[in-house]
């Protein structure tokens, strides 16, 4: 049968096809969005891209908090009596149609003056008239057309975020000065004693001096600061020789032009700073739509519904929740604080918090923990703690979240820089003392020349360009790395720790095995049809696993809450549910099971298992040769046997780990010398991800949030993890080779320097030449590496 896809969202229309205007839709939501667009002449939306839309979600009451003044104040960036401007994050933004429709919001609501999309950040900035419409209406409008904004506790911050553009300014200034200085110094390269040159050279030189001032004192100031900090903490980092180089270049050039000794090295000076900043700029690959610094605030709602003592529902800001408050939690809403269930049918999904794969049922009087998601209907609860004191959020008070991982890590460049600096200084001293004996007038000249030519511009550029390029290549393969230092750390790991639920298992599917007497055909039909009527998650899962059967109408169907379901068709009677309900005793305590009996005769049970990601055992077998592998799970041991079969025998399997336990486990092994790569997905792994040397979050959907980490890996690329680790190792090799290359340039330059024949033109040729050849070398080699990665991950 040919599948019809929805004109609006592109999903398959399964059972139900809604036809409208000769187009088919999968649900009423999609049809409504289409209607809204066609009424307002916005059907261009569908011309730009095929089925670009999303199904609008049920939102009734969800955004009531947006009418509160203090919340509006925090969410708007500009707010006077009439005009309000707000920037909303919309995860669904993914194509040009999205940009188009969102920038035409004023056609749907004329009180919106303008809306501007930032595609990279997936945000829309809306300006509207607050006397005629409101923030709530804007959000509701966006939600009704399938672009629901994501508003979390994280947005509830004071103050605007300042964009740091200083690097662009510095790069601009250095580039500007470099170009002009090159142009002014060009005539003197040829050293012809021409009349005109003699006459104007002083003017030219002082102009170059003027251009180099902002380069040294503004654009290059970071290198001085970093070198000073390095020396203070007794580390000879790469910025020490660079800072010496810049300082010596500037001072010697100034002295030369002041006393008419020569033309100075302003061209090399500005060029050096420009290339260095270019390297920094290139290394800065940012994924503006991803954030690597998230904590629980990004998941938690900004406000929930409180039930006042009079029984009214009012929105309450999450930070204002006090002990004893009555809260109303709707379907799909997150529980913001620890509390006690008062009434309602609670089915809480804690998979994100604890790593348990199944959602749990709670009855009135049970304790609920913050971070769980209600998955069936509306519940009422009483708060026991405030947000910051809740069980889950307390994890963030651990010191590990305030530590900067890069602090304790000496990168490759700084390792070599230590030896390099010492070598250069000794060469300078030896050469100077030699010249002091032979020709004292040249001694100072040689000393400064050595420091100038040895300035490790090319060395400083190798790592930024290699890692910068690799970051882009990884990004294209859906492996989003926070910064260059992460790649370097990734190359040095020796232990890999995996979380179980959501990391090596996929969230979407689970499998079930049947044990017991085989079911006859009519029983299978009955089973399938009974499950069809139930909305319990296990019923839905089992229903999807079972083979397709004819639809029959049941004579009798009844669902017993928390026990099971029974149904009859003609003479047959079926009971599906827990062991006690069906009339047997539970044999497996750890696994989730569903028992079946027909006509009061016990037939058997379905046992549910996690379904593991594709290529899991293949990946583990590849990794086991080089790394210690550990599975650290918050779930129970139910999957132990299954995992043992799948994974290489030396993999350690540890279950029942609380978030703190995971963190401590990694900390302990790090003190034993392990370099740990942690791969997790949920908030329960947040501590472990922060403690590990490299923390990678697995994400089924990059737009959905992942906890604070060093890198985000798309779940579909999970099996290629090994490829990425090996690519990082190759990157280290590339950098080492480019070090060799730049050392050759340095040796050539040093020959001119120690023999006292370093003319500005040689410096001006050598410095850019070495930098450019390093850039070319690293770019070509990393691109070859990238090609290999692409081939492997597409195979």
């Amino acid at each position: 049968m040919e599948q019809t896809t929805c004109f609006h969202c592109g999903d398959n229309c399964n059972d139900l096809i809604i036809a409208f205007n000769e187009k088919s839709f999968c649900c009423n939501g999609c049809k409504t969005v289409y209607e809204i667009f066609s009424e307002n002449d916005l059907t261009c939306y569908y011309d730009l891209q095929n089925s670009p839309g999303a199904i609008p979600k049920e939102i009734e009451g969800k955004y009531d908090f947006l009418s509160q003044k203090n919340i509006i104040e925090k969410l708007t960036e500009f707010n006077d009596e009439v005009i309000q401007i707000t920037t909303l994050y919309i995860p669904h933004i993914h194509c040009s149609s999205c940009i188009w429709i969102l920038e035409n919001l004023n056609k749907l609501n004329s009180n919106i003056t303008s809306s501007q999309v930032n595609f990279g950040k997936k945000t829309v900035r809306v300006t509207y008239n607050s006397t005629l419409t409101s923030l709530k209406e804007v959000v509701l409008l966006l939600s009704s057309i399938g672009y629901e904004p994501y508003i979390s506790l994280d947005d509830f911050k004071t103050g605007k975020q300042n964009v740091n553009r200083s690097l662009i300014y510095k790069l601009g200034i250095a580039g500007f000065a470099f170009g002009n200085v090159m142009f002014l110094s060009f005539p003197e390269y040829f050293e012809v004693g021409e009349f005109w040159l003699e006459k104007y050279k002083h003017l030219f030189r002082w102009l170059m001096f003027a251009f180099s001032l902002p380069v040294v004192f503004y654009a290059g100031v970071d290198y001085f600061i970093s070198a000073y900090k390095g020396i203070n903490s007794k580390i000879l980092n790469i910025d020490v020789p660079i800072a010496i180089g810049i300082a010596v270049l500037f001072i010697r050039s100034t002295i030369e032009i002041s006393f008419d000794l020569g033309s100075g090295f302003f061209d090399s000076l500005t060029g050096l700073v420009f290339f260095l900043l270019l390297g920094k700029f290139f290394q800065q690959k940012t994924y503006s739509f991803l954030s690597f610094e998230r904590d629980y605030k990004s998941y938690f709602p900004i406000a929930v519904t409180k039930i006042t003592s009079e029984g009214n529902e009012t929105p309450i800001q999450v930070y204002n929740i006090k002990k004893g408050d009555r809260l109303l939690i709707r379907n799909e809403e997150l529980i913001p604080v620890d509390g006690i269930l008062i009434n309602g049918k609670a089915r809480i999904d804690y998979s994100f918090v604890t790593g348990e794969s199944e959602s749990v049922s709670k009855i009135s009087g049970d304790k609920l923990f913050a971070g769980g998601k209600q998955t069936s209907g509306v519940i009422e609860m009483e708060a026991l703690k405030s947000v910051e004191q809740s069980y889950l959020t307390q994890l963030w008070s651990n010191d590990v979240f305030n530590k900067n991982k890069e602090d304790g890590f000496t990168n490759l460049t700084n390792t070599i820089s230590k030896r390099f600096t010492i070598a250069v200084l000794s060469i300078a001293i030896i050469a100077t003392s030699f010249w002091l004996y032979t020709d004292a007038s040249k001694a100072m000249n040689v000393f400064t020349a050595v420091l100038i030519i040895a300035c490790p511009c090319a060395i400083a550029l190798s790592a930024p360009f290699t890692f910068g390029n690799l970051l882009r290549i990884f990004g294209k393969q859906k492996f989003y790395v926070k910064n260059a230092s992460v790649i370097e750390q990734l190359a040095s790991i020796n232990t890999i720790i995996f979380d179980k639920t959501g990391t090596i298992t996929s969230n979407k599917k689970s499998t079930a095995n049947y044990e017991g007497e085989s079911l006859s055909h009519s029983e299978e039909v009955l089973l399938k049809n009974t499950l069809r009527g139930s909305n319990h998650p296990l019923s839905r899962t089992l229903y999807n696993i079972l083979d397709e059967h004819n639809i029959i109408s049941l004579n009798h169907f009844e669902e017993h809450l928390g026990k099971g379901i029974e149904a009859s068709h003609n003479k047959d009677h079926i009971k599906i549910g827990s062991a006690s309900y069906v009339g047997t005793t539970e044999t497996s305590v750890l696994n989730t099971t569903v028992h079946i009996s027909t006509n009061n005769h016990y037939k058997g049970k379905y046992t549910f298992y996690n379904s593991y990601r594709k290529g899991l055992s293949e990946l583990f077998n590849k990794l086991k040769k080089h790394y210690d592998l550990v599975i650290l799970s918050g779930d129970n041991e139910g999957e132990l046997e299954n995992l043992k079969k799948l994974l290489p025998s030396k993999t350690k399997l540890i279950f029942n780990q609380k978030p703190d336990d995971k963190l401590e486990y990694i900390k302990y092994h790090q003190t034993e010398g392990a370099k740990v790569l942690m791969i997790g997905d949920g908030l329960n792994d947040a501590g472990a991800l922060a403690q590990s040397n490299v923390g990678i979050a697995i994400s089924e959907n990059i737009n959905v949030f992942s906890p604070a980490c060093d890198a985000v890996l798309d779940a579909s690329k999970f099996k290629h993890l090994n490829t990425f680790i090996r690519a990082s190792k190759s990157a280290i090799k590339i950098i080492k080779w480019s070090f060799v290359l730049s050392l050759i340039y340095n040796i050539i330059g040093l020959y001119f320097a120690v023999t006292g024949q370093l003319a500005p033109v040689i410096a001006a040729i050598l410095m850019p030449l070495s930098s450019i050849s390093i850039v070319v070398f690293t770019t070509i080699t990393t691109n070859i590496l990238g090609k290999k990665i692409r081939l492997k991950s597409n195979s």
Partner: protein, 61 residues
């Protein structure tokens, strides 16, 4: 006064004008989002077509 002074000052003034233009562009945030404008520019025609469609329809109504 030699012509070279005039030429030199002109060249530097031109350079500084471009430099100021660059600084103001950065300040206004032109470098913050380098993707969306490239797509947005392609929509200008669609918008014109759309608005004319609207006016025709309202006339008919």
């Amino acid at each position: 006064m030699s012509v070279i002074y005039i030429l030199l000052s002109i060249s530097i003034i031109v350079a500084i004008v471009f430099f100021i233009a660059f600084i103001t562009a950065v300040k206004k945030g032109q470098f913050d989002d380098s993707y969306t404008p490239s797509v947005r520019m392609l929509f200008d025609d669609e918008l014109v077509k759309d608005s004319s469609n609207t006016s025709i329809k309202t006339k008919k109504d």
